[in-house]
């Protein structure tokens, strides 16, 4: 088989972002020159992202600005702070529209906000069965067998023996917990942080327990249930 001659991988880079707060090109360049004079070496051939968030529709002549920056050995590699409806501005300049990590994280967080409900299962969850409580806490009045899976976007309560797999905070809620009358699970997971039965056994005595997330790692507290 022939070896691939290219590979596509994601990496993150630290880029300087130039925030543009005025459409007056002359004022911008005067201020910029003053800044560059403080540390001339630092900015040589530096890639720059222009942030236009402060300017609504009142944009400066971006082509001229790009040109002026280039003369000062600064390379504009992208635009940010303009909504995607105005993508043609970036296209004209042959620059990509960029979204900072902060912006993209904020959007789904808002979507998760709606209040949670509760799903109740009044029987044993048998091997091979899978129960998912979407945007809800899950309460099982019975046991969860080996080979069964209970999943919830919220917390999971099992008022019986938990022998199967339990995954709480399936959409990434760090505050979700798993509570079982007897914890002897194959796997417990909270917001993607999981332990297999071996690790669980080390931290329990086979009694009631609460599994929660403390920072990055799971902890199991025994409960007198």
């Amino acid at each position: 088989m022939q070896n691939a001659v290219l590979e596509l991988k994601g990496s993150s880079f630290t880029l300087s972002v130039l925030h543009i707060n005025s459409k007056d090109l002359d004022r911008l360049l005067t201020e910029l020159d003053a800044k560059l004079a403080q540390a001339p070496q630092f900015f040589v051939n530096a890639p720059l992202v222009l942030n236009l968030a402060k300017l609504a529709d009142d944009l400066p002549d971006l082509a001229a600005l790009k040109q002026a920056l280039h003369q000062r050995n600064l390379f504009v590699v992208g635009l940010t702070g303009i909504d995607s409806a105005k993508a043609d501005i970036a296209a004209k300049l042959q620059l990509p529209l960029m979204k900072s990590g902060k912006d993209s994280k904020n959007t789904p967080a808002k979507a998760v906000v709606p209040a949670r409900s509760t799903k109740i299962v009044k029987q044993n969850v048998r091997s091979g069965q899978q129960i998912y409580a979407a945007n809800a806490d899950l309460i099982v009045f019975g046991a969860v067998s080996n080979g069964a899976e209970v999943i919830a976007d919220g917390s999971i309560h099992v008022y019986g023996t938990l022998r199967g797999k339990a995954m709480a905070g399936a959409q990434g809620d760090n505050h979700a917990v798993i509570i079982a009358k007897t914890l002897s699970a194959e796997l417990v997971s909270i917001a993607g942080n999981y332990w297999l039965s071996d690790s669980i056994q080390e931290h329990t005595n086979g009694s009631g327990a609460c599994v929660r997330l403390d920072g990055e790692s799971l902890i199991i507290e025994s409960l007198p249930l």
Partner: protein, 269 residues
């Protein structure tokens, strides 16, 4: 209306057919008109255990396809005139069973019989699903070891979600645990799960515990259901299970280690 009982397990080789034959015979001997149906299409065994393999002319699939009527296919047991066997086809496969076909046959049988026993094949595919779909009662045959217990658990999940009673939101299928091939000595040494262990995991009422016994193999080979041999421990245990199925309160036997007599202790068993 007949009561439809499925004998099922998920796992193979745990004693479904042996148990079907024994329980069907037990019900018939108690005076209930009973038919036992072999759902293991392609791997016909029930007729051997019942000792009627030489009398099979038409089978279950022939009846479903309308190639024979029920009276032609039903085989009357030679020991008990209340007992009938509907054998499986050996030349077909499980796809020959359709929900409509099976439903029609069971409906016709319901008019004449008190109990219909469905001997399920192993697995969770078409054959097993057809056997359990119409059930009113399920006897989950389980050996005291982890893989069998887990498969039984899976089947219990299927009964709760895939049976006719579940689909039509009727009263759920009555589930009973039948623990077979139980050896108290090996339970004591920790080689085998105990009755309590299995019951704790499966959490369904116990119908009976059948001890591991030489008499079962002997009975199978001679084509006589083991329940007929009332001298044997397994035969007696099946009789107890049948009594419990009929609502009698019978104490559990053969679950404790047999006390050996002085001679046995000296000379071994």
């Amino acid at each position: 209306m007949a009561q439809i009982i499925v004998v099922t397990s998920g796992k193979g080789g745990v004693g479904k057919t042996t148990s079907s034959a024994a329980i069907a015979t037990g019900l018939a001997l108690k005076g209930h008109k009973t038919v036992v149906i072999d759902f293991d299409i392609g791997l016909r065994n029930l007729d051997l255990i019942m000792g009627c393999e030489r009398r099979v002319v038409y089978d279950f699939v022939n009846v479903i396809n309308g190639e024979a009527n029920l009276n032609q296919a039903l085989i009357k047991d030679k020991r008990c005139d209340k007992l009938f066997v509907l054998p499986a086809s050996q030349t077909r496969d499980k796809d020959a069973l359709t929900k409509e076909g099976v439903g029609k046959v069971l409906e016709d049988l319901s008019k004449d019989f008190d109990y219909i026993l469905c001997d399920s094949p192993a697995g969770i595919e078409t054959g097993a699903m057809m056997a359990l779909y119409f059930a009113d009662t399920a006897i989950v045959t389980t050996n005291p070891e982890v893989s069998s217990v887990r498969d039984s658990d899976r089947i219990l999940g299927m009964l709760q979600s895939r049976s006719r009673r579940a689909e039509q939101s009727l009263e759920p299928v009555k589930e009973y645990l039948l623990l077979t091939r139980y050896a108290p000595t090996r339970v004591k040494t920790g080689e085998m799960l105990s009755v309590e262990d299995v019951q704790e995991i499966l959490a369904i009422p116990l119908l009976g515990v059948i001890p591991e016994s030489q008499s079962v193999l002997k009975a199978s080979n001679s084509g006589v259901p083991v329940i007929v041999d009332q001298q044997s421990d397994a035969g007696q245990a099946y009789a107890d299970a049948v009594a419990r199925l009929l609502g009698e309160d019978v104490p559990l036997r053969f679950v404790a280690e047999e006390k050996k007599g002085l001679l046995k202790r000296i000379f071994g068993s």
